[in-house]
Symmetry: C2
Subunit: 905 residues, 2 copies
């Protein structure tokens, strides 16, 4: 073990830097980077992620060299900060924080004010000239150390923190309400009682040796990498467990030494809208955790924001000056320094930063900088703006947006014209509209959603324990906390609508109800949230389609300039086709014709066909369906004029068109003038043990060629009519479920024959193609043969995944949940294309298909066509296009562009 | 078109030979070969199969050169036969016969006596000195030509042949019963009436120009290649349509010129038993068709057989001399010549021959020689005997037997001790025992079998139209015809039991009943046939296992010396295992453990497990199953001592163990002391839309690891007990339905952990393996990864075929029948492994598996493991063994040997 384990930073220099995130964690790397940039950072050092790995690989033992390296680093910190760890008169206090490769907010543990004991606390009091601050720091340390390192933190929220109980008792005895009202003497007494509690509960004395404290804290922070919350978070976010965390040990600076102190967090641009405006919150005389935890509502950093807030609340300038004075006005020089620093950071990192700072006795210390989380809307605006500012280029702007993020932007927003009963207003913490039924506990949210409900999670404030419930909720509403509170940060990260700090709410967890301005809302009641305005409304508010303009449009243009893959949509109606065109769809990749048969007047003819005992009977019924089908195709081809439209011939098994409830069967029998027995007999006759593997797809069109004939006739007739009207149409007739060359040859012969006849009748020619879905494993295996009779392939990766895994989507839920939990599958293969297995068949299909037909047009029309990782795969294997639901078209466009850029990197 | 179209033979020379079967057809090649061997063959020529192809490719037109080549060949024939085509005084008459690459008995058309007209018939009479013969030949020619060339043959058997009607009328008018009783004058009159009928029905005169007759016959014979019967036959026998047929035009010789004439067919060895004894039948004063059609019962060729027959029938020597005199006695010199020829032919062809000959005025002419069809029993005996005689080597003997043929030999025969009510005796035309219900029409046979019945087809005589019904029948019984009748030849080819020429039968087609010696048997009644003795019995006679000794054993030994593939069996019980060992199984390739759970006392515990609401409940129920399972494994491992036994862990979905009828559910509820509702709810809860793709296989053992634990414990405990008893056991634990590496790793961890514990408890070690079925397409695709945690692979090609094609075996019947008819699938992929598609996945699985684990043991346990073509494939891809049902073990052994020999050819 010869590698370096500990990396020092501070005093305008550092052993690490931004590029060392994997080793130092995000926070450690950025602290080193800031130090290198000459930004004032409290000195400290990072213990690398390698140590974490070694720690867990060696039964929680450290490499031997660590002790000496830590001691050396502490000496360097002492030197730069001019204080000494454990020194009685001028003690250096340390913070010990986790710092993983990617941020896992609130998931792991932190210990602050480390180094205090009965002796060093006197030195702190001496140095600060503030006895109350000294004892407050000490009691905070004992409490935190007791909770985190000694394990007194309650396991669940139902239990109470033993230290909080003592504080409450003390406040009651004193007759005060706030912690800040406790005196130095009170706090000193708390320390005694805290230590006694620790002795009572743990049978040990509180450690007084600062070094013992330090190693205890390091153990605890590394240990927290494996706590349940962190493990769950990693699973949800796909973070590998073997990355490990780094630990940052850093000199403490204090925002709570008095009124010339403060602490704050800020974003270099607005994280909700992306507007290029410095934006942050701070608290005078407070520690950083006070801001983030949302316990005190913080103040604005800029005067502009402060004014806006006052206006929003209808406060007078005097009230504003008394209550919401900005940092810019409080401490103008500090503000100026902060402004210089944030600009330097944003320019250096070429991205919006999320920064934390502390002002200790009018000296500014930067505690953290990191890429700022942002809403999808902000992400787009920031990326486009930065490209326009010349900070990044267009391609980088395109790469900056996670395609999945766009999903939020593309989903319906509240209809501005809809009636809204706004009953309260909070902070617009994460945009978008959401409706759902009120639940008050994260576990309830998970339960309700499990059974198919949509919920809004309502909490006084959220905490990391609520992650699961927040993940499934449509929206989150809190009564406390600001724009950087836990609820707000996490919701933005998830892209979930959130209204935070809505003080009008009066929440009663035990009776499961809340009072808002005279309204009483109970668990299960419907409410709606507008995360873009902060409005809380009763009932379900209707939504409207999103409009895509401005920055979004620019970004999409840039993406389109780069991408090679075409993007089509799956659409069964002219309306869907129109929507998709607006989203940039370049054609239809899948029109399912079977949906057309379910409408009221058509289903009867369909059933007549199914009940027919011979071909003549079937032909008669199909003749009735023909005009409907022709109209359907006319509409959809017209909506997609000038662009190709892939139409799939009948796919589902015929029994899907028959009713299965006796009452409906009776109805059908009456309608068709036959006996219930006849209907029942047909249902029994068509019953299949495994319909997924039964008589469906091209197998229908082969056994009943008259079905394919009718559909081909309807498609070509519609195309001929449109052609005569001067409209360019490009129908692509797609035969599903092909597994042998002969099947497609058989169906193709029918289509070509019918097409010839119909074209002759109309006296025009249409540009049609005949191709197939590749959705049966065998089709990929013999794609070279199939391509001999196909003009195009479209991978039906839903069925291909079902058959390649042997999973039925309808049934697999039961064991896939267990598989997910046991990590037997890295991802749900129905969500993200399984490149390892199914992907081999796709690649094989593409290569073999082109081996016999080099100009074969190839696409995908499974749901994977709108999933970014899968889109990248489609690009890589050389498909011509992907096809997805209308709302995912922009996501696919962006993902397709990123696929090109990523490949050229 | 410069290639030669016509090939001459005759007079001890020929332009063709045996090696030219593809061009000249089997019959033409053999005629040429015989001619080259100096055997007396009527001169003639073959029109090649190429001409047939050109004919059909060019809208039924011949190449221009054909006319001249035919004329030249006819001249050569004239020269050698000393007669002239169309000559009035010494006319050459010709036969025109089809001759495909492989024999298609009775499927295509033939025209005999061609060249006769009102003038040439006089020449024939002159030459033969037999007026009746002349007119008989002429009326036969007109009738045949009318039927075949002019299309007067009725389409179905219900219609009557117009010529037969006229003959019947003539016989009635004459008051005679037999054709032979008609005089020359009668026959001459028939010719006139035949011609008039043709004129009436076809509006044309019967062609008198011999050349016009010849071209008409050539057209008709080529045309018959495409008739429905021929097309059906080719489909049943897998003969490609584009092979085409050749035509043999040959000088006529006559076996019906008088009592110094005869015609006959013979086999160089007994085609039923394989005994090395010349065996054949002949008729004095008859044409060849009379023998084959079975209209007159023919006589034996050898004296020995004649004596035997007389003995069998209880005839005196005098009766024998009067009625069954053999050719050997009738015409001793001719017999001697024939004996020399047959020995020469068998020696030349090194195989048993089926020959046809005609004796015209004491001169012997050979008309045909070809490989003789034979029963499976005879095939084995002949191959072994020829190898022992030094005619062929052992490997050739092994190659001589079609593995599928053995199926007959391996199936049960009638129990010799069983009570039998023999009601009649016919000829033992095709061996084996068969029971079934009587049907009298081929179409009925097909219908009855379609609905699941076993039938015996009973006919006066069979004809090519009956092929379909013969194919599905268990056995065939005819009242007329000999050992070389249509029924006998076809049944032997199919390996179907047949009793022919059972004269005691009195069949009434219209009332659908038959009378035998006082018994009346109606359609639907049960009868049994013994094709090895000729016995006809009432009812269903019980059967016994076949014994495999003698020739069969020798052949198997020779096969075993050659083959590289191991052959195991699929067996779930110790009894099956014993049977399979006797058939030469070298271990068990698949033991299905689920069958063990269905027995009365076990199913209750199984259901208890399924109904348990938690792991503890499941464990309790599994504990009850454990002793049963251990006993099961003990028994099967012991039966297969010294050989490996692959045991598959639980595979079917749990709902298969619950009753689905309400009455049974109630029973179960009562038995388990729960409510009917509880049972129903569980059934609903476990219901799956596509159980094939649902919660089964390893997915059970992963969600309920306690099941795998119990099974592993039972297997290893049984193995430990046997090991302690000094018995060598090699359990191979096989986890089904693996699709990811993680699944197998998970199950393997359980097995290894449990095995370790059990072995410690018993204090012995057992040699066990853990492996998987490869039956999910994805498993083949990632076989390299799976092999990292597998000791062996066993391809489950049943499921692999289902998933690769997307066919459910339970449901696919509906469309697979249509697919078969439309030739969309060349073969049923569940019968014969689809090498083109599924085979790719198998090959991939083998190659990838061995890429990470070179010593990976690989086998197959799907039903394809006993199908010869699939076995050859398994050999080719390098598997270690195949596993099949006990009765197919010898088939697999032979197929495995042939795979080696075929590859080394």
């Amino acid at each position: 073990m010869t590698a370096k384990l500990v990396y020092f930073f501070g005093g305008g220099k550092a052993e690490g830097g931004s590029e060392m995130r994997n080793l130092l964690g995000g926070k450690g790397a950025d602290l080193a980077e800031m130090s290198n940039l000459g930004i004032p950072v409290p000195a400290g050092f990072s213990i690398s992620t390698e140590v974490c790995k070694i720690y867990f690989d060696h039964d929680r033992h450290y490499p031997q060299e660590l002790d000496q390296e830590v001691r050396n680093a502490v000496s360097q910190v002492e030197e730069i900060m001019g204080a000494k760890f454990g020194d009685v008169s001028n003690p250096l206090l340390l913070s010990v924080r986790s710092g993983a490769r990617v941020s896992m907010p609130g998931m792991m543990d932190t210990v602050l004010n480390l180094g205090l004991n009965e002796e060093t606390v006197q030195g702190l009091i001496e140095q600060s000239g503030n006895e109350r601050f000294g004892w407050d720091s000490y009691r905070r340390f004992v409490q935190m150390y007791g909770d985190v390192v000694l394990g007194l933190r309650p396991e669940s929220k139902e239990e109470e923190d033993p230290f909080e109980v003592i504080i409450e008792e003390a406040k009651e005895a004193r007759g005060v309400k706030l912690d800040t009202e406790l005196t130095a003497e009170d706090l000193k007494d708390l320390v005694v009682r805290f230590k006694q509690t620790i002795k009572d509960k743990k049978g040990m004395d509180f450690p007084t040796d600062p070094w013992a404290q330090l190693w205890g804290a390091i153990d605890a922070v590394f240990g927290s990498w494996m706590n349940q919350r962190a493990v769950t978070y990693r699973r949800l976010h796909g973070i590998p467990g073997d990355w490990g965390t780094a630990i940052n040990v850093q000199a403490m600076v204090f925002g709570n030494m008095g009124d010339d102190c403060a602490t704050g967090v800020a974003f270099t641009r607005d994280p909700a809208t992306g507007e290029n405006e410095f934006f942050g919150e701070f608290l005078i005389n407070a520690q950083g955790e006070d801001v983030v935890a949302g316990i005190r509502t913080p103040l604005e950093i800029t005067r502009k924001r402060s004014m806006e807030l006052a206006k929003q609340r209808g406060s007078s300038e005097e009230e504003r000056r008394d209550n919401y004075l900005s940092l810019e006005e409080h401490m103008p020089e500090i503000y100026e320094e902060l402004e210089g620093i944030y600009k330097k950071l944003e320019h250096h990192y070429r991205d919006m930063q999320d920064i934390e700072f502390t002002i200790q006795r009018k000296k500014l210390w930067m505690l953290q900088t990191r890429r700022g989380k942002r809403t999808a809307e902000a992400a787009v605006r920031i990326a486009v703006a930065m490209a326009e500012e010349g900070l990044i280029d267009k391609n980088e702007a395109v790469m900056r947006i996670m395609p999945e993020e766009l999903d939020r932007l593309l989903h319906p927003q509240f209809d501005p014209k809809a009636e809204k009963n706004v009953i309260a207003k909070g902070l617009p913490a994460s945009p978008g509209g959401a409706s759902g039924r009120v639940v008050f506990h994260a576990e309830d949210a998970e339960e309700w959603v499990e059974r198919g409900e949509k919920v809004i999670l309502v909490r006084i404030e959220t905490s990391p324990e609520d992650i699961g419930g927040m993940h499934v909720a449509e929206g989150i509403l809190t009564s406390r906390g600001g724009m950087t509170s836990h609820a707000a940060v996490v919701a933005r990260g998830m892209g979930t609508c959130c209204v935070a700090g809505c003080g009008a709410l009066n929440i009663n967890y035990s009776s499961k109800e809340m009072h808002i301005d005279g309204y009483v809302l109970k668990e299960g009641d419907h409410i709606s949230l507008n995360g873009s305005t902060g409005e809380v409304m009763t009932g379900q508010v209707p939504t409207v389609e999103p409009e895509l303009t401005g920055n979004f449009g620019r970004l999409m243009e840039w993406a389109d300039e780069v991408r090679k893959l075409g993007v089509r949509t799956n659409a069964d109606t002219p309306k869907d086709a129109e929507v998709a065109r607006q989203f940039g769809a370049e054609g239809i990749g899948l029109t399912r014709t079977e949906h057309m048969f379910f409408e009221a007047d058509r289903i009867k003819a369909m059933r007549e066909m199914i009940l027919a005992s011979d071909e003549a009977g079937r032909r008669g019924a199909l003749e009735k369906l023909f005009p409907y089908q022709k109209d359907d195709f006319y509409g959809i081809l017209k909506a997609m004029r000038d662009l190709p439209v892939t139409i799939r011939t009948l796919d589902p098994p015929l029994h899907e068109f028959l009713p299965h409830e006796e009452s409906q069967q009776q109805e059908m029998a009456d309608e068709m003038g036959i006996s219930l027995e006849d209907v029942k007999q047909k249902v029994v006759q068509l019953h299949e043990f495994n319909p997924m593997l039964g008589h469906r797809g091209c197998r229908l069109g082969i056994v009943y060629p008259e079905i394919t004939e009718m559909q081909a006739r309807a498609i070509i007739a519609a195309a001929c009519e449109l052609t005569k009207e001067g409209i360019n149409v490009y129908p692509e007739i797609m035969v599903p479920l092909i597994g042998t060359r002969e099947e497609l040859a058989h169906q193709r012969e029918i289509v070509d024959r019918v097409a010839e006849k119909v074209q002759e009748e109309y006296g025009v020619r249409v540009n049609y193609m005949v191709g197939t879905m590749i959705e049966i494993p065998r089709a990929s295996l013999i794609a070279d043969k199939i391509a001999e009779v196909a003009d195009f392939f479209s991978f039906g990766t839903n069925d291909l995944t079902q058959l390649t895994y042997g999973y039925s989507r309808d049934d697999a839920g039961k064991f896939l949940a267990a598989y997910d939990e046991m990590k037997i599958l890295p991802e749900d293969p129905f969500q993200v294309l399984d490149q390892e297995g199914v992907g081999q068949l796709v690649l094989m299909g593409v290569e073999k298909g082109r081996s016999t037909r080099p100009d074969l047009k190839i696409g995908i029309c499974g749901e994977h066509g709108g999933e970014p990782k899968s889109v990248e795969f489609c690009h890589r294997v050389g498909m011509n296009y992907v096809s997805c639901s209308p709302y995912r078209v922009p996501i696919a466009r962006l993902a397709a562009a990123q696929a090109v850029l990523r490949r050229s990197q």
